[in-house]
């Protein structure tokens, strides 16, 4: 098949795949278009079987790792970890909105870093919402803090974001070294978000919760689940130092949570199976193959052309900017898949700069412009709306400084940690 036609076909299929994943017509699983689309590309020879095999082999372990982390997060929720976090934030805030925001920042940054951004968006955000409602404070700053930090605070560890997991192999870094190099960019991103959100929402951070209100019955801290999550985090570093895949630490943690829950019948085997999110894993694989086809037929060369060589501060900034633009144009998952082949040979610096771009960039349009447009329609059908002007304004205010601060921090970090 001639290059331009193959390229267009792969492009159309990518858009259809992303569109279907977001709009979910009739609640169909996200893999429904992705997997047949990848199959079609293979059948037509747009994607050679050998290239597909290499892609599957490199994506396989990543997908396994993701499955284990998702399971770990879902099961720790079953132990009441997130509800307990809501209790800590409520009592620690002493009813003061700015104090509460600081605690939301601390908890959301930690949850995102350790249990992935999915955990913050799906499990923590509703808890924060309920905590704020219980304290009778305004939800807006705290909800925005969660959604922003789910992106900006997902820089720290390979497990923090699916994009990191995809790039982890290409970066050539160990788990511990990845974390050590990204610690400073992670802190820089959080600090800039704090300064800007605190100021942007000054008008909503008013009043205080009345002290005489009887606090909601405190949930006991789930000590066991906290210990397992802590040990799993430690396990990531230990396995990486021993040269074992850190995915095994995640698997061990997930099993340590699953066994007592299954024994006491607090979850069923079926629920554990659902928490593995098999359709999602199939979707990531399908998406990987579609992007591979797109990359083989010319787009890869274009992207390689866009990326400057070297790890100077200027080069890192350009890489991060290109990644952020691409993430907003399409979506951060295909963006990172497209950019990785171009930057993998340039060493860890540019790979990590790509991650800064694709992780912090989405605060402008969250899922990429296409997804945001579709999402607005989904919300409208449910009688909700998206304050597009407000969140774009906040995104335009925070994304550039966060991007620059994190990239400068990365540049310094690469010099210190090497």
């Amino acid at each position: 098949m001639p290059g331009p036609i193959a390229e267009s076909l792969a492009g159309v299929l990518l858009v259809a795949t992303l569109g279907c994943a977001i709009a979910r017509p009739w609640g169909l699983p996200e893999a429904l278009i992705a997997v047949p689309a990848a199959g079609l590309l293979l059948l037509l020879g747009v994607l050679p079987l050998s290239a597909a095999a290499i892609e599957v082999r490199s994506l396989g372990p990543t997908i396994g790792f993701l499955a284990a982390v998702l399971l770990l997060a879902t099961l720790s929720d079953r132990f009441g970890l997130f509800e307990a976090a809501g209790g800590w934030m409520a009592s620690g805030s002493r009813g003061r909105p700015v104090r509460l925001l600081a605690l939301v920042f601390a908890v959301a940054s930690t949850v995102t870093a350790v249990l992935s951004l999915d955990a913050t968006v799906v499990l923590l955000t509703p808890v924060v919402f309920a905590t704020v409602a219980q304290l009778r404070l305004r939800a807006r700053p705290h909800v925005y803090a969660c959604t922003h930090l789910a992106n900006s605070a997902s820089l720290l560890l390979p497990v923090s974001n699916l994009t990191n997991l995809l790039a982890f192999g290409a970066s050539g870094l160990s788990f511990a070294r990845f974390g050590a190099t990204m610690a400073l960019p992670w802190l820089a991103a959080i600090a800039v978000e704090w300064l800007l959100l605190r100021r942007f929402f000054a008008g909503d951070l008013v009043g205080h919760a009345e002290p005489q209100r009887p606090a909601a019955p405190r949930r006991p801290t789930p000590v066991y689940a906290c210990a397992v999550v802590g040990l799993t985090l430690l396990g990531f570093f230990v396995t990486s130092l021993l040269g074992v895949a850190p995915a095994f630490a995640a698997l061990a943690g997930a099993l340590a949570l699953a066994v007592p829950l299954l024994r006491s019948r607090r979850v069923s085997v079926r629920e554990v199976g659902l928490a593995l999110q098999v359709p999602l894993l199939a979707f990531v694989l399908g998406l990987g193959l579609i992007v591979k086809a797109l990359s083989l037929h010319g787009l890869g060369a274009v992207v390689t052309h866009l990326v400057p060589v070297g790890a100077s501060l200027g080069a890192l900034l350009v890489v991060a900017l290109v990644a952020a633009l691409l993430a907003n144009l399409i979506n951060n998952l295909p963006a990172v898949l497209l950019l990785l082949p171009a930057v993998a040979a340039l060493g860890p610096g540019p790979v990590l700069a790509v991650l800064i771009g694709v992780n912090t960039g989405p605060n402008l349009t969250y899922a990429g412009s296409l997804a945001t447009l579709l999402w607005r329609r989904v919300l409208r059908q449910r009688g909700e709306e998206l304050p597009v002007s407000e969140f774009m304004r906040l995104g335009a205010l925070t994304v550039p400084p966060v991007l620059v601060a994190a990239t400068v921090a990365l540049w310094i970090s690469l010099r210190v940690v090497g």
């Binding site: 977001i22 969660c146 008008g203 999110q277 997804a371 909700e384 709306e385 998206l386």
Partner: protein, 175 residues
Amino acid sequence: MMRSVRVVIWVVEGTWEGCVDAARPSIPAAGRVALLHVTPSDVTGIAGAATAGLLGRGLPGSRTHRPVEEVAGKAATALLAAAALRLGREDAELLQRRGRVEREVIRAVAEDVDLLVVARDGDHSRLGPHSLGPATRFVVDHAPCSVLLVWPDEPPGIESIPPAPPHGPAPPPPV
């Protein structure tokens, strides 16, 4: 017969107590009073947009989704009840709305309302043209009734006024 005066108090999280206290003297004993709360429909939309960022993972219908809507609704009901108790008017009508806050407030006072009581929000440390939050600003501009703007906390002293510029711009010449 003259119809009785009708007052609406707009209560918002963070400022509602001060607002109710400040409104109390302005309500005639024989007048009717309503307490209004609007749950913003866009805050849940923001959380939803982040969910879209996960490419559809954890959409409503999945086991992990918690009904944020329901939490917001219950919290609003409880807030209105607490406000009525604080006001000490058992006969207060409770108006619970959901939507775009500023537009729902205007809609609620569009007819048969004499006075709307609104707490100043916004950042009190920087008083000036923009010291009202956007929703409050909209309501003050468009309410079809009298608006009583109250301080939910201590009013600022007059020393909060910056000194006048030494040579202000000359007034425009008459046309």
